[in-house]
Amino acid sequence: MNNHDLATGIATQLKHKPGALLPVLHAIQDELGHIPSDAIPAVAKVLNLSRAEVHGVVSFYDLFRTKPSGKKIIYICRAESCQAMGSRALETHVKSRLGIDFHETTEDGEISLEPVYCLGNCACSPALMVDEQVHSRVTTVLFDQLMEELLDDSSTRATKP
């Protein structure tokens, strides 16, 4: 199924909800990992909105992506509690270790890096989240260990049929 048809299907399924646009966009992103540009006219048509309105919503919210992300997304918390426990140094380390800045993906397509402003894990700062798993009291050493586990994990997965 192409993106246009898939988006049409999802939007049709959810359009009964009042103010359905966010649930529709989340469902598309859950399915495809991002919201491709050809999904936008499809969603607009089903929800009786203009393409500009849909595009405006996609671009307003930080968690909607218009490009594919890496296989794993690392969300690193930049908020005050984590800063009080050294997240600025961690952030610098993470960027240099991965060789990318925020909103970028490593060249091998493995990891994307995103800033986040609070994960609600402030009692054990600094925090980061890989996909949906939160990690507490992350030091640079702990991050490097985590990276090895992540890369191991993904290389084993890649060799499986």
Binding site: L22, A84, C124, A127
Partner: protein, 501 residues
Amino acid sequence: MTKVFIPSDTTARSLNADAVAVAVGALGEDIELVRTGSRGLYWLEPLLEIETSDGRIGFPNVSVESVHALFAEGIPTLEHEKCLGLVEQHQWLGHKRLTCARLGIIDPLSLTDYLDHDGFTGLAAALKMTPQEIVGEVTASGLRGRGGAAFPTGIKWQTVLDTQSEQKYIVCNADEGDSGTFVDRMLMEGDPLRLIEGMAIAALAVSATIGYVYVRAEYPQAIATLQRAVEIAEGAGYIGKSINGSEQAFHLEVRKAAGSYICGEETAMLESLEGKRGVVRYRPPLPAIKGLFGQPTVVNNLVSLATVPDILAKGAHNYAKIGKDRSKGTLTVQLAGNIKRAGLLEVPFGITLREILEDFGGGSFSGRPIKAVQAGGPLGTYMPETEFDTSMDYEAFKDIGAMLGHGGLVAFDDTVDLAEMAQFAMEFCAIESCGKCTPCRIGSVRGVEVIERIRAGENADENRILLKDLCDTMIEGSLCALGGMAPLPVLSVMEKFPDEL
């Protein structure tokens, strides 16, 4: 069969609680393993608890490796060297918990557990009352909005009750975006039925038939747990076509946000729920009169709604007698940042900030002096040590130009660069501004630039005057609290830490 409890909340799981649970499950002992929420004694997590005839005993910081040693001679007892004693007697649980009473105690998705711990007794009381009586109870309790604005909840409900409309809504604001706050997450993960009960009571009070919980997307576990709890409550007939057998329906839906801080502002949140960009609305009209889809809407913070069942179950008077002056009841303090013992406290209003930081928090995590505390999230002021004796209540904080907000406290030791933190406040505002009003959208960007210049020593004195002017413009001219309050941390650094900025 001995009951063993291991928390399964996000923070406990980030500290390996799942692996500990697996290890305990594999022991082969005569054990019934229960996964609970967290009590919020986070420096002790994973905190394993064992039921005894005297109450639950606790074993802190359990790891997969330590499980075998702990259970080497069977089920460990109070005499075990690693035991911290009866958990209920812990200092942090010394004040009777109300809103957080079931956290860490029950299985969040067990209806039986919930009912065994006085669940749905508030709803039962409300079902015997008229809408006006329910609103009267909430008003008499003195409950004020726990999201930060501290507006009396009963008065808000009264406005919605008095506004005639065929369709009314209850909206729960669970877009907990302030750094240093996590009680909404804990309640959703640890006692979600309580929120559902509170919303059902609100629905009865104002005759609303549809409710939404707007949860931030950064809380995937909270969303999943709450969604499951809604299904359970609906399946058992507490909400849905009928609120527990009454003639009123109440359909509740959990909506996932998408990473925008400004959507914690109530009108931006309503826009988002309507499927639009989270842009702030002009007020008036108030959401209580024209809210979601233009209809009268109760918009309350999650903690406010989760407190309502207790007020209805035990009476307004019981709640109002706790606290200080006009700050009635309990405050859920979330202690975070550079602090030795971080976590959730529920205490009556009126305790001092110093008691929280020193007696409960045990000083900084680094062991260095605490230089500043940011209270009330990223828009709150930085408080110096000279203000630590301030009473934790809405009026005392207001008197010194600070705010309690949602109850978050972030401690910083003396290595903090407060000029950098002031710059960050403006940077955060620039990133999160919805863009509708100029003072916030442009002012925050200019704010970052001016602070950069002051820090670089470029015309510092003149730029300080300019920065103060800019802050005044943002405070006076912004449409909502984001632009209107982002200057507060900046000004507090300039005024209270003059050597820094």
